[in-house]
Symmetry: D2
Subunit: 344 residues, 4 copies
């Protein structure tokens, strides 16, 4: 059984484990004040091209989202997210548990635009309703789409004009930035968003997300919020060492590129086999639509999520590739689809 | 500079890193549903001697405390803790941030008794005050003391009689259970407390605490709370693999015993040198009282916390030993104290 | 300028003010333990036909909703409401501020059914999502519709089968129960819902809602929650005296009947004048659709909300009648509509 | 049975009820946007001598405290209060329920000073602890003491220097300001504190507290917080009408003066009878220490709280006078004490 279920099925890239081994007996300060974390943050600032941002290392996406959003928002302020947004449907009400409503915006492609945020603002005119304040976007999105630079510029401009906070969930930022369709650079982000995070967990680390706070007003005393939410690891070095290794050279981007390439092979070959897709996804998540009989056969050899029923005979499945995905298994999968399809 | 600052200055025990390496490319389910975590939990149940407990693996102490307490308490219920309790003074209001007051109880030795809990109950008679509901204790405590079996039995009986929840923070449970003065067994705990956790971070893992929920009523749907608080790691295997290694044989207890032995050498030798201690601590934290001039000299070679000023000329310092503490550095430290003391 | 804007434009029914005057110098216990509140609660139990319910008097609808829902739900549990539900759009995230998500269910007529709740349950299968637990309904609804007995029975049965809590917001319960289309009795409610409240503010009191908790498991220590949320008035007598007067005889129902009758006149006469309505509302809220020019003229003499734009030339307005609505002003309004309509 | 139990045993001053009657059928906007509330707020600004403050009318003390503090504080910030402070022991964890710790400061006379706040600041140096941010004081305090102008000036200066928020709970502000020992004016308060409230409930209204926000940064969007906490009454006029009447002339101060005079008679006469007091209280709360036998006799004719046991034979009781306290009952009480004391 080979898994295309997600991009966190394996451990960490071997270089990361090696870095942990080599540094293991160095004594260090706790709670992220170790030299590894300090160096990792400096390195990240270089890669982002900005020394005036604040960077914090946290353990996972939900933790990062809830810590950031609860620190950024006042009690009456709400977040807005596409209906597919991770904070809306897959974090067990983590944001609401910190006291804030998340307003759902229907968006077929998983992306927000000034127009649909504007509609939310108009529907929330006074103190009898929450105040929509933070725009939550994911890049790549939960359905594999990515923001083009001009789309993000428009959003950014709109948020700035309307005094909104623009926050980017980058759990799969590597895959987005390494997409062949992408025209955004890591160095563009601090100009365009108020805060974002660079996902490690889904791109080669054991765990770890690097939150980058770009807007000055959001930086203040953020470590208090991390501690309060249980997000300051005693051995913060564990995160520092990993991000140091990931960004020491091009490893972060190499890993994401591999994931995208594996997805590209799947996309191209399944398309050749006349398999339709639920949407156009240029990143490491694909949603091919297959006959139920084919899905049943594939399930005996591969693990993946059944995403949604399309009609009585077909469903979309979700295939996720990662830094660890093996090309031969991708090819085997494609062969198995083809064999099954032709026999339908 | 050698550090006695805490028990999380180094990485993980080499066997744990080795286990991570060896399992690295096994594909597994996410969010703690991997086979490693499942096996680790089974193994822990064996070690605890009970199959009817629920066990969950979380990343750190503050996270475990806030997730457990907020899951266990209704909105109007409060926790009680000794004034030295970690949740009171060192978790940035993490429990209050989930909505619950923590009532401080003065306790010179860091331990709670039926008598001082009874006083709190009497002071909270009606709905104009919070309802004291959960008794938070640490073993070993934040000042190095440990609960004897009869003390815990009395607390347990009292809590049972008064329908209170008894919760034990076991960040340093290893050191407590391996103390030469200890008469508690791991297998006693499910009989005596409603929930407790077994600390990994301070006893040899990179991170990880194993929360054991003993009382049936507290178990229900606990994973929802973990997810909501950002405590479900995508790569939950990281925790499972470590606990599996820690409890595969006697490693957990061996590591704690080493830490205690290093502390014992310090205690015995400093006592011989007529150094007084702030309190009697039979675990891996010691609080010797030293002249300020001696402290200043020691600080040039060793890292440690200055705990509290005792008089104009003396302060207590905190020395913490761990699985990684080197005997030769313990001896060097003792020598340096002696040299300095005699020259005062 | 005469207002049809809402049912809380005037003070209280004169009998209620008189009762406050007459009791003014009686010394009483504070915080709802006064004899007036005790008697009011006994009287309400009689009217409801059940002695085994718990009843609490609170000041307003948002306060009642947030106090009840936060007391009833565990942290990971969510409420469900029709998209028009008051807690969703008009309480500034009050429920979320206590930590709970409110799941929106599209429902054209403002009412929930087993089918649309079932769909929510199916979409929330595991711990990565909130657990839908409480069904919030309003009767009458925010758009004037009412639940028929068989509809409520079906909902009740479904909630019971699925271990859900069924909660009815009764801010306008009087108007619902006195509707000519209603077949529910106050005495039916404890059999069908787990908790509901009887709205005083919108039916003749200065303020006050009587929360009735029917399910035993939800009753425990509710006064703690009231105090914590700021919902226990020092002079709780203020609420007791008013509910005592309201239910001493038929006053509560007489007032609601008057409001409904005033609405009925508007409905019948506007219908005769060929004015369409946004929906069928048999209670004290009406949503006639009028040309913009007519609305503009009416606004010079009457206050009302413009509810929603229907097309380029027409909008629906909201007319609310109350115990205090004057028949001559209803007639004047109708005349003014007719004059304006014919001149369009 | 005559009650000295508290200052909210009766209804409202007759002039206030009269004002409610006379305005009853005027149609008004809801939610505090009525003309009565607007006028009351203008009038209060005049009385306070400042037009640049924001004033909001809420229903009770706990509600006011929790709404204000949760609006003013960021998630990691804590309040500080004297150990006798109402928010610490008598509001069922209302502040903690909004996420904020309340730090208890021992203060024998119920009052805070720069010195004891300074000690708290020093004990909270970093992000592992909450950040002490808001100083909560009550005037008069929960044990009847009052702040002199120079004491408040020192506190104010200290808070300003340390960027702390100074908040005054004025549930019994009337009694404090009308004390014969007071040298503070209402018009001094906006210069000295960042926010305070003027208590109506305990000084003649049915309910109602007027929150005055003086510091500009705390004013923003406060009505959102009120709505979210259930503190915006639909018939906000109920509060506006009462405060308008209370401050139309000198009524607020006359009522407080009466309460204080009744207390003064008790203080003078009991002192003459050699009855000691627990503390020196120059306001409407007194804590005489009486033999248990005398207390038992008095309890057959008077209601009051037994405050605390002083020794095996004596306890302090709490006597509270109000605008409604009858002089003849004060005299009767004194006579009864004397008779009983002499017979001991």
């Amino acid at each position: 059984m080979y898994s295309f279920k997600n991009d966190y099925s394996e451990g960490a890239h071997p270089r990361i484990l090696k870095a942990l081994m080599e540094s293991n007996f160095v004594q260090e300060e706790g709670y992220g004040e170790d030299q590894f974390s300090i160096n990792a943050i400096e390195l990240l600032k270089e890669r982002i091209g900005r020394t005036d941002v604040d960077i914090h290392l946290l353990t996972g996406g939900t933790q990062t989202n809830l810590t950031a959003l609860s620190a950024f928002l006042r009690p009456h302020e709400a977040a807005m997210a596409a209906s597919t947004g991770h904070i809306l449907g897959h974090e067990t009400g983590a944001i609401e548990a910190t006291g804030h409503k998340v307003i759902s915006i229907d968006a077929l492609d998983g992306k927000l635009t000034p127009a649909n945020i504007q509609a939310v603002l108009e529907a929330h005119p006074d103190e009898h309703m929450v105040k929509p304040k933070l725009v939550y976007i994911s890049n790549s999105t939960e359905i594999g789409t990515i923001y083009k630079k001009d789309e993000l510029q428009q959003l950014s401009h709109f948020c700035h004009e309307n005094n909104l906070i623009l926050y980017m969930d980058g759990a799969r930022l590597g895959s987005a930035l390494c997409s062949t369709e992408n025209d955004l650079l890591m160095t563009d982000l601090p100009e365009l968003v108020d805060a974002f995070y660079i996902g490690g967990t889904k791109n080669g680390t054991l765990l770890g997300e690097a939150l980058v706070i770009c807007r000055a007003a959001l930086k203040e005393e953020f470590r208090y919020h991390m501690k309060q939410k249980g997000a300051l690891l005693a051995k913060g070095r564990l995160l520092g060492i990993q991000f140091l290794e990931l960004f020491r050279d091009n490893l972060f981007f190499d890993l994401a590129t591999h994931a995208n390439q594996m997805a590209a092979i799947l996309r191209v070959e399944l398309t050749k086999a006349n398999i339709p897709f639920l949407n156009h996804s240029p990143s490491n998540q694909l949603f091919p639509i297959l006959p139920h009989s084919v899905i049943a056969d594939l399930e005996s050899k591969y693990a993946f999520h059944i995403w949604e029923k399309v009609d009585d005979d077909h469903s979309a499945i979700r295939l996720v590739t990662s830094w660890a995905t093996k090309k031969e298994m991708v090819e085997a999968f494609i062969d198995d689809v083809k064999v099954n399809i032709y026999s339908v």
